[in-house]
């Protein structure tokens, strides 16, 4: 029980930190976002009235009292109402709406790719660790080298090879918009989604599989010299049982806890990947927001990403407690 309480407290603190960070950044940075925006609007010839200024100020959270504590209070209240402000890019759509449209794409792409990468990497790592000195051992430097390659460079090379030089895959988009497909749970739509999502997913998987494989293989090598493996072999258990229930079950634990850490990196990589493939997810949205100086959207996205990563971490932490019975005892 104490363990779960500790975890909960931690995540509440982390959430508070993310939220407060989100609040502080625009206020600590040089320059007034409202002024910057007004200047931009003026430069493009848009009419700027005092009302525009006032509503923009409110939308960007600058309106109302100048006391930061009061503003903070308003900000928190707004958050609870799901009010993240108004987007400039899609004016006057609310930030919440805009994000809600893009989020499922990213979760689908990133979630799936990371899972595939994790499972494949761990699986290959188990094999490589079990059969030391085999050809699998040579695969490891290769996959690790893929990790040293910048996501987007790899993505662009893939784009060059597979979409322009040979038109095997489409090079932009989340689904076949021009083919008249309507989003829905139809096989056509889903098929199109998979087709369009394949290359971005491939990029993510290729770039991250090396890490899982290496970590798992190293851990397998360590674990295989443990006493309980000797006991298992002496008991005459079948090799696959020794490999899975005795070795891999123990060896996967650090990778599992590391999965949570890697989520942050995956989000980072996905931002760039989505931009390269024009994939309609959160990453691309952030990119658009940055280009348009859409501060409200930017901060909204940062908050959503933070909360998602925190949630994912929490889920992984709880799962970890389930698969390692010693965790609850340790706290």
């Amino acid at each position: 029980m104490r363990f779960y309480l500790q975890k909960l407290v931690f995540y509440v603190v982390a959430l508070w930190a993310a939220v407060t960070l989100n609040f502080l950044i625009p206020r600590l940075m040089p320059g007034n976002p409202v002024d910057i925006l007004i200047a931009k609007m003026g430069a493009t010839g848009q009419p700027v009235t005092p009302q525009t200024r006032a509503s923009l100020a409110i939308a960007l959270g600058q309106g109302g009292s100048t006391n930061w504590f009061v503003q903070y209070g308003d900000y928190i209240v707004n958050l609870f109402h799901g009010n993240l402000g108004v987007s400039v890019t899609d004016f006057p759509a609310s930030v919440t709406t805009v994000i809600a449209q893009a989020l499922p794409w990213t979760i689908g792409l990133i979630g799936l790719s990371t899972l595939i990468s994790f499972i494949l990497g761990i699986g290959l790592g188990v094999l490589a660790g079990w059969r030391r000195g085999s050809w699998l051992d040579n695969l490891i430097p290769v996959t690790t080298m893929f990790q040293a390659v910048p996501y987007f460079w790899l993505a662009l090379i893939l784009v060059l090879l597979l979409t322009r030089l040979s038109h095997i895959f489409p090079f932009a988009g989340g689904y076949d918009v021009y083919g008249g497909l309507v989003p829905g749970l139809t096989p056509d739509f889903l098929g199109s989604v998979l087709y369009y999502g394949f290359l971005p997913a491939l990029t993510i998987v290729l770039s991250s599989i090396g890490g899982w494989m290496l970590g798992m293989r190293n851990m397998m090598v360590s674990t295989l010299s443990e006493d309980y493996i000797l006991t298992a072999e002496a008991k005459g258990l079948r090799p696959y049982r020794v490999r899975l229930t005795y070795a891999a079950r123990n060896a996967v634990l650090p990778s599992f806890s590391g999965f949570a850490i890697s989520l942050g990196f995956v989000v980072a990589g996905s931002i760039v990947t989505e931009e390269v493939f024009s994939y309609p997810g959160i990453g691309q949205l952030l990119w658009t927001a940055v280009s348009n100086d859409d501060y409200a959207l930017m901060q909204g996205i940062f908050l959503v990403i933070s909360v998602s990563v925190l949630l994912a971490n929490l889920v992984v932490d709880l799962l970890y407690a389930l698969i390692d019975p010693r965790t609850r005892a340790r706290s």
Binding site: T231, A232, G236, T245
Partner: protein
């Protein structure tokens, strides 16, 4: 008549009814320089006998045991000799020739092991029941689930652990309990030989005594032979029928426990026996057989003068 005297009459029983015969076994550790861990070792283990294997750390006793049961890991390699198992059903198997599926089926069924430091000999992420059960699912697939669980509970109770501990994880048990669980697992398939590698070294003396009593009681009930490996010679003197003393990979002396204690032939054996302090006798007496350590008594005498 002392049991050991029973052994000494006519054809020794261990020769008449052997369960393991080791013939000129040599084991090397390969590497840039080859280490000869076990050199030309031969001995016979009688059915139901408690055979002690004594020696200091690094003398090769564990390597010998692992070599016999084919648990050696590279770079260790059996370079010559053989170890033969004589089953009570009448057939004999050359253990060094066993491969693959045959080896796997042989393991634990005929010979089981109890390792030292059960701290780490149990899988930390699955519970006790699962660890005992998988012996049955592997070797006795015809057993039903309920029969298996019942048998697991029986095994635990036999070694003095409550049946309710089946659902516990290894980290929730004390050291002594874990060692008992190891012994319970070793008995699961009613083996003909149990090899115990320092089973009580990591435990405190009270628990040690309990475990030893447990082992001798079980042996009396079930009749398996025991190879007991330890550096603790006095312990062996108490419980073994015969003892072999190893040094640098070779057996330097092998005799019944009583004869080894009273008439040690080899110098090394004498030194070993001399290294354990005595509870009785004069202060500074290091040898139980009553022969004082001349050097020490002389120093004591000088001090009092």
């Amino acid at each position: 008549m002392r049991p050991s005297e029973q052994w000494a009459s006519a054809t020794p029983r261990y020769l008449a009814d052997p369960v393991i015969t080791v013939d000129n076994l040599s084991i090397d550790y390969m590497g840039e320089t080859t280490t000869h861990a076990v050199r030309d070792v031969s001995f016979t283990l009688g059915r139901g006998e408690i055979f002690g294997l004594a020696g200091e750390s690094g003398c090769g006793k564990s390597t010998l045991a692992y070599g016999i049961t084919r648990l050696l890991k590279p770079p260790a390699l059996i370079t010559s000799g053989s170890a033969t198992f004589h089953s009570r059903e009448g057939f004999s198997i050359d253990m060094s020739q066993l491969r693959g599926e045959d080896l796997r089926a042989f393991r634990w069924d005929k010979i089981s092991l109890v390792f030292q430091g059960a701290m780490n000999s149990l899988n930390p992420v699955i519970n006790i029941q699962a660890q005992i059960e998988d012996i049955f699912t592997t070797h006795r697939p015809e057993m039903g689930k309920r029969a298996r669980v019942l048998k697991c509970g029986d095994l635990l109770e036999r070694v003095g652990v409550d049946r309710s501990r089946l659902r516990s994880f290894p980290h929730e048990l004390s050291g002594g309990m874990r060692q008992r669980v190891m012994i319970a697992m070793a008995m699961a398939l009613d083996p003909q030989v149990m090899i115990m590698d320092e089973p009580t070294t990591a435990l405190d003396v009270v628990v040690q005594r309990e475990i030893l009593d447990e082992i001798t009681r079980l042996r009396a009930d079930l009749g398996f032979a025991v190879i007991f490996i330890t550096h603790d010679l006095p312990l062996l003197l108490e419980i073994s029928d015969r003892i072999a003393v190893m040094k640098a990979g070779q057996i330097v002396e092998m005799d019944t426990a009583y004869d080894l204690y009273t008439h040690p032939q080899n110098d090394y054996t004498k030194r070993l026996l001399a290294s354990f302090p005595s509870l009785t006798g004069d202060r500074g007496d290091f040898i139980r057989t009553g022969v004082a350590d001349l050097q020490l008594t002389e120093t004591a005498q000088e001090a009092t003068e």
